[in-house]
Symmetry: C2
Subunit: 198 residues, 2 copies
């Protein structure tokens, strides 16, 4: 078969792109829910054979890097579209809502992939979103809206911990994905606000 | 040498106990800071040879289970000594302070060991401390001190997320271990308190 018709064994360019897309999409979905999902499970979810998957991604690490690269690029774009101007509390609310969606969708995946990521990818996945939140916290502290009697690094840690905690709570079925962004926004603002300092 | 004096190769019972103690203590310290610490590093830190270590613990999993067992027993004792009576906010403050110490000391270690732990050990490490916080949250909600317009499961997630976030922030050098319990208590109470709901 292979010898008779080599062209049929080589998928057309459009098919290949469609398969790559399906594999990356399936890997994104599965790894976000279960960081230990196997390449077999990913191939099955993508509706492609194992051989096809290995034809495009020669190792789990190669696939993880590609999946993470797309997740990071997508996150940068979504975060870049958030309006950070105006009232710092409202701007933080908008940023938290976008961050929640991205953390819940990609957080477990980036952690799963972190061994396979380049230092540059890790920096883009963690440091750049953190810098965005930090700049907004800093503006809110100067405006007297957020407490400035605790370290800004601590406030940043609290924001990150609550975002990741919410994602874990949804995965455990303790809160719904619909309720999560409201709970995150509410809790972060309560923890940061000047009115709440003792 | 071995043939001539078998007794010398077999440590006395007191020596053996001292070595086990030193190995478990060293493993507790190292694994809390670096969950990937090797058995070689642990033997070195304990001041014993690799052979001695393997004589007492036939695998990394056996050592991890013993280390976790002691950490869990120690945590149960410390948490059991916290006075949970009286004003719910103050009781929660005391419980958070003890929980902070234990999370910072043993949290990374229990996570490192979680693959090696029995379901019973995992339950004792996670569910029993959580049940203690939950009971106190419940009492504070009934007393009108804590918000009861958000799920109690969410409040429990927030407490755990902030405790673990503080431990990670100390490991990253962003806040000091001395400042951490105050920041944790302050932030958790701000996030839970009725006065802070919008």
């Amino acid at each position: 078969m292979l010898a008779e018709d080599g062209a049929a064994a080589r998928p057309k360019r459009a098919d290949a792109l469609r398969n790559i897309e399906a594999i990356v999409d399936a890997a994104t979905r599965l790894l976000a829910a279960d960081p230990d999902a196997s390449l077999n499970e990913i191939a099955k979810e993508a509706g492609v054979g194992r051989i096809t998957l290995y034809g495009h991604f020669d190792s789990r690490a190669t696939l993880l890097r590609e999946v993470a690269e797309r997740a990071i690029a997508h996150s940068e774009q979504e975060l870049g579209e958030v309006d950070l101007a105006g009232d710092p509390r409202e701007a933080l609310g908008r940023l938290l809502e976008a961050s929640w969606r991205l953390t819940h969708r990609f957080g477990a995946l980036v952690i799963a992939a972190s061994q396979a990521l380049s230092p540059e990818q890790l920096r883009r996945a963690h440091d750049e979103p953190a810098a965005r939140v930090r700049a907004l916290l800093s503006r809110g502290r100067e405006a007297g809206e957020f407490r400035d009697d605790v370290p800004i690094d601590w406030q940043l840690s609290v924001v990150q911990a609550i975002l990741h905690g919410a994602s874990a709570a949804v995965h455990r079925g303790e809160i719904t994905a619909e309720d999560a962004p409201g709970l995150v926004g509410d809790t972060v603002l309560a923890a940061l606000s000047v009115a709440n300092s003792r």
